[in-house]
C-alpha cells in the first residue's frame, strides 16, 4: 500500500473513530439520564477517540518513512558478497545505485551479474515487506488506539479536558519547531565546518589572504593550490554591501522623511506602496536586471569617462542590491519616524523651527536608535543576499577596494562550491559550510543587536 493511500485509509479510520466515539457517548449517557449528564459534549468523546486513533499511528508512520530506506539499504548491503562490502563508501554507493535501478527496472550502468540480480530481488522483496508491514502496523495501531479510547468512554470521562490537553501539546510542539530549525541549522553547519577545520586551520581560513578552493587531483597540477583564506570574500562582501548601503540609506531615509513629514496624503498613498513593490520582487529578477541592464550601463558609462570597468563590476551588483534594500530602510525608518510623538514636533514648531529644522534637530535625533537598528537589519540582508551577486558579481576572489573591479562574495562562493556534483568529504565542499557558518553567525549577531536596539527605542516612547 503506498503512503498516500495509507494516510487516506488512516483518515477514514479516524473519521470512523469519531463517529463511534460520539455514538458510544450518547449510548452510555442513556444510563445516567441523557446527554446532559455527560461530563463533556458528545463531540469531545468523538474527538478523543479520533485523536487516539490518529496520532500514534501517524507518529509511527512518520518514523517509518524517515528510516525505512536506511534500514532496507543496510539489510541489502549485509547480504552482498564480502568483497563488494569492502569497496569503500563511494563505490559501494554506485553498486547500490545500480541495484536500485535494476529493482525499479531502469537502465543499469554495469553488467548484470547473478549477485546483482539477487541483490535487486532482495531489495524488491524487502521494500515490499516493509511497505506491507508499515501498512499493517500503522492501521492496527490506529484501530488499537481508537479502540482503547472507545472503551474508556463513560459519562464521567473528562473528554473535553483530555482533548484540550492533547491539542495543547500539539500547539506547543508546533511552536518549538522554530527552535528545532535553529538547532538544525547550527548543527548542520557546525558539524561540516568542524570537518573542514580539521583539514584547514581556523586561523588560516579567517585570516588567509588567498582563496582558490580547487583541490589538486594530481600532485603536480598547476593552479590548484587549494588555498582557503576567506579574507578576499569578506572584503568583497563588504565592498558590495557598502555600495548597496550607500545607495539605499540616503534614498531610503530621505524618502521615508519626505513621505511621512512632507508628502500629501494622496501622494503618500500612491508612492509608498509603489516603493514597497521593490521589496516584493524576487531577487532573481534583480539579478537579471543587474546582469542585463545595469552592468552594461555601468561599463559604458565607465568607458565614456575613460575608466576600465570589469563587466561584472562590484558597482553594478552593489547598485542593484541597494535598489533592493531601499524599501527595507524606508519602511522601517518610516515606522520609527511615525513613532516619534507629535508633541515633540509641535514643540519644535512652536519655537519657530522650520519643518526641516524640526526633522534634523528633533525627529532624527529622537528616532536615531531605531534608524540605526533598521540600517543594521538592512546590512544583514545585504550580506546574506545571494541571487543578485551570483548573477551579477564575479567569481574571482580579489583583494581590492576598487568598486569597478570584479569581486566575489561569501554567498557566491557557497553557491559555486555546492551547485553541481560534489563529494561530501572534500574540503572544497566543506568550505561552503564553513562560509555558511560565518554568514549565519554574522547575520545573527547583526539581527540580535538591531532587534535589541529597535525594541529598546520603541519602549522609550510607549
Amino acid at each position: 500500500m503506498s503512503t498516500p493511500l495509507l494516510i487516506a485509509v488512516l483518515l477514514v479510520l479516524t473519521a470512523g473513530a469519531y463517529m463511534l466515539g460520539r455514538r458510544r457517548s450518547v449510548a452510555v449517557s442513556g444510563g445516567v439520564g441523557g446527554v446532559r449528564h455527560l461530563h463533556s459534549l458528545p463531540s469531545y468523546y468523538g474527538s478523543y477517540a479520533a485523536l487516539w486513533c490518529l496520532i500514534p499511528a501517524l507518529l509511527v508512520l512518520a518514523l517509518w518513512v524517515a528510516f525505512h530506506s536506511t534500514l532496507v539499504t543496510e539489510l541489502v548491503v549485509r547480504d552482498l558478497p564480502q568483497e563488494v562490502q569492502q569497496l569503500g563508501a563511494d563505490r559501494l554507493g554506485l553498486v547500490l545505485n545500480d541495484i536500485r535501478n535494476l529493482a525499479s527496472g531502469n537502465v543499469v550502468s554495469r553488467e548484470v551479474t547473478p549477485e546483482l540480480q539477487a541483490a535487486a530481488d532482495h531489495l524488491k522483496n524487502l521494500e515490499r515487506t516493509s511497505a506491507a508491514a508499515m501498512a499493517v502496523v500503522v492501521l492496527s495501531l490506529g484501530v488499537i488506539g481508537g479502540g482503547i479510547a472507545w472503551r474508556q468512554i463513560s459519562p464521567r470521562l473528562r473528554a473535553r479536558n483530555r482533548v484540550e490537553s492533547i491539542v495543547n501539546v500539539l500547539l506547543i510542539t508546533a511552536s518549538t519547531i522554530a527552535i528545532f530549525t535553529t538547532i538544525g541549522i547550527v548543527l548542520s553547519v557546525l558539524f561540516e565546518s568542524i570537518y573542514f577545520f580539521r583539514a584547514v586551520p581556523v586561523a588560516s581560513f579567517l585570516f588567509g589572504l588567498e582563496w582558490s578552493p580547487q583541490i589538486a587531483l594530481r600532485a603536480d597540477q598547476a593552479g590548484s593550490s587549494g588555498a582557503f583564506g576567506a579574507v578576499p570574500l569578506f572584503t568583497g562582501t563588504l565592498l558590495i554591501s557598502g555600495i548597496a548601503m550607500l545607495v539605499a540609506v540616503p534614498i531610503g531615509l530621505m524618502s521615508a522623511i519626505y513621505l511621512s513629514e512632507y508628502a500629501s496624503r494622496e501622494f503618500r498613498a500612491v508612492a509608498k506602496p509603489v516603493l514597497e513593490v521593490l521589496a516584493g520582487i524576487p531577487t532573481v529578477v534583480y539579478g537579471f536586471f543587474a546582469a542585463l541592464t545595469v552592468a552594461p550601463l555601468v561599463r559604458d558609462a565607465g568607458a565614456a569617462l575613460g575608466l576600465q570597468v570589469a563587466s561584472e563590476s562590484a558597482l553594478a551588483a552593489g547598485l542593484v542590491m541597494g535598489i533592493m534594500i531601499i524599501p527595507f530602510v524606508s519602511s522601517l525608518s518610516d515606522d520609527v519616524i511615525n513613532a516619534v510623538p507629535q508633541a515633540m514636533r509641535d514643540a519644535a514648531y512652536a519655537l519657530g523651527a522650520t519643518q526641516s529644522e524640526t526633522v534634523r534637530q528633533v525627529i532624527l535625533p529622537a528616532a536615531l536608535p531605531g534608524i540605526v537598528g533598521s540600517i543594521l537589519l538592512a546590512v544583514s540582508r545585504a550580506i546574506g543576499e545571494t541571487m543578485i551577486v551570483v548573477m551579477a558579481a564575479g567569481l574571482s576572489a580579489k583583494l581590492t577596494a576598487n568598486p569597478l573591479d570584479s569581486v566575489t562574495t561569501v554567498t557566491v562562493q557557497i553557491v559555486t562550491l555546492l551547485v553541481g556534483d560534489q563529494e561530501f568529504d572534500s574540503p572544497k565542499t566543506l568550505a561552503a559550510f564553513a562560509l555558511g557558518l560565518v554568514l549565519f553567525v554574522v547575520t545573527l549577531g547583526l539581527n540580535i543587536i538591531a532587534l535589541h536596539v529597535v525594541r529598546k527605542y520603541r519602549e522609550q516612547y510607549e
Binding site: 524517515a66 484540550e164 508546533a174 511552536s175 519547531i177 522554530a178 527552535i179 530549525t181 541549522i185 548542520s188 553547519v189 558539524f191 534614498i251 531610503g252 531615509l253 530621505m254 524618502s255 522623511i257 519626505y258 512632507y262 508612492a271 509603489v274 516603493l275 521593490l278 520582487i281 524576487p282 531577487t283 532573481v284 529578477v285 537579471f288 536586471f289 542585463l292 541592464t293 535598489i323 531601499i326 519657530g352 522650520t354 519643518q355 526641516s356 529644522e357 544583514s380 540582508r381 546574506g384 543576499e385 545571494t386 541571487m387 551570483v390 548573477m391 554567498t411 553557491v415 555546492l418 551547485v419 561530501f424 555558511g436 554568514l439 549565519f440 547575520t443 539581527n447 540580535i448 532587534l451
Partner: protein
Amino acid sequence: MSNGNPSSAGAPSRRVLEAVTGSLKRRYASERRFRLLGRLAVLTGLVFVGSLFLSIILNGYTGFQQTYLKLSVTFDQETLDPAGKRDPAVLDSADYGALVKRAMQAAFPEVSGRSELRELFGLVSSGAEYQLQDMVEDDPSLIGTTRDVWLIASDDLDMVVKGHIDRTVPEDQRRVSDRVLAWLDALEKKGVVETRFNWSFFTNGDSREPELAGIGGAVMGSFYTLLVCLVISFPIGVSAAVYLEEFAPKNRLTDLIEVNINNLAAVPSIVFGLLGLAVLINFFGMPRSAPIVGGLVLALMVLPTIIIAGRAALKSVPPSIREAALGVGASKMQTVMHHVLPLAMPGMMTGMIIGMAHALGETAPLLMIGMVAFVVDVPKGFFDPSTLLPVQIYLWADSPERAFVEKTAAAIMVLLAFLIAMNALAVYLRKRFERRW
C-alpha cells in the same frame, strides 16, 4: 516677556528679531533644499521601480511570440512508412527530419554544397520534425499527401525577425550570415514568415533550443513545491501563533522561542538551503531536485513570517470577544478555537499568501538542494525531479543564446504576474474581511 520692564526687554527682542529676519532667507533656502532632496529621493526610488519593470517588459514581450515558416511538406510514403502498414512503431521511428530538409530544399532549389545546406536547414527549428511526427501520428492519412505546414523557425531566424539582431553590423560580427538574411527576405517576400503567439511557451518543459523551451515544467514544479510548503507551514504556523499569543505562559522557554522566531525571520535564505542539503538530503536521504524537499525547505523558511503575521492577526482581535466567551462558560480552548481564531483567520490568510509569494520567488536555497538540474519533463508528482520558475529564470539568464534573454524576461513577467495576483488577493482579503473593532 515681562511687562514690568519694557525698556530692557525691547532692545534684545529687536536684536533677536533682526537676527531672525536676517537668517530667514538662509533658513527658508535650506528648507527648500531639504524638501527638494526628499522629493528627489522618492523620485529616484520610483524611477528605479519604473526602469526595472520597463527593462523586463521591453526585453520580454517578444518572448511570448514565435516565428513560424510556412513550407509545403510532402509526407512521403517511402520515407515514413515503406511497408505501408501504418505500424505505430514504424511511424514513431521514421525520419521526419528528412521531410523538413526536403521541403527546405524545394523552397530554395538553387542552394547546394554541404555548409550552405546545413545553414539552410538551420532556418527551421530542430523541433519541426517532432511537429510533423505529431501531425502524422494524429492523422496517418496525411502520408502520401503534400500540405502547407507552419513550422517553428530556429531561434536565430526568430531573433532576426524580431529585430534583436542588427542587420547593419558587419557579417563577421553577426550571429547570422548574409546568406541567411537573403533567404529570410525571400521567404518574407513570399509571405510565408509569420510571428504568432507562442502557446507552447506555457506548456513545454525546458529545452536547450530557445524556440522550444517553455515554462510549463517550471510552473508545475513551483505548484507542487508551493503545495508542500503550504500544507506543512500553514497548520504549524497557525498552531504556533495561537500557542504563543493565547496560551504561552511568560517564561524563559517562550521568550527563547520568540527571540528565535524573530531571528529566524532574518536569517539569509541560503542558510536554509544548507540546512536542507545537510539534513534532508544527506541525513534523511531524500531525493535531490524533488518538490518535496524544496517545499520542506521553503516551509521552514517562511514559517517565521507566517507566525509573526498570525500573531499580529490574533492580537487585533479585541479582548472583549475573549471575555464574552469566557463569561458564558467556554473553556480557554473553546474561546480560542470557536471565536478568536475564526475572527483572526482573514489576517492569517493574508500573512499566509504573502509568505507563499515570498516562497514562490525564492531561489537561493533551492540551488543548494540540487534544483538547478536541467529537467525537460514536466513533473508529475512530489518526488519527480523538477525545476521551479525562479530557478528556470536563473538557468536561462545564464544561457549564452540571445534568444534566451527574451525567454528569461518573459518568464520573469509570468512570475511577476503570479506574485502580483497573489498580493492582490491578499489585499482584497484584507479589505473584504477587515473589521474595525
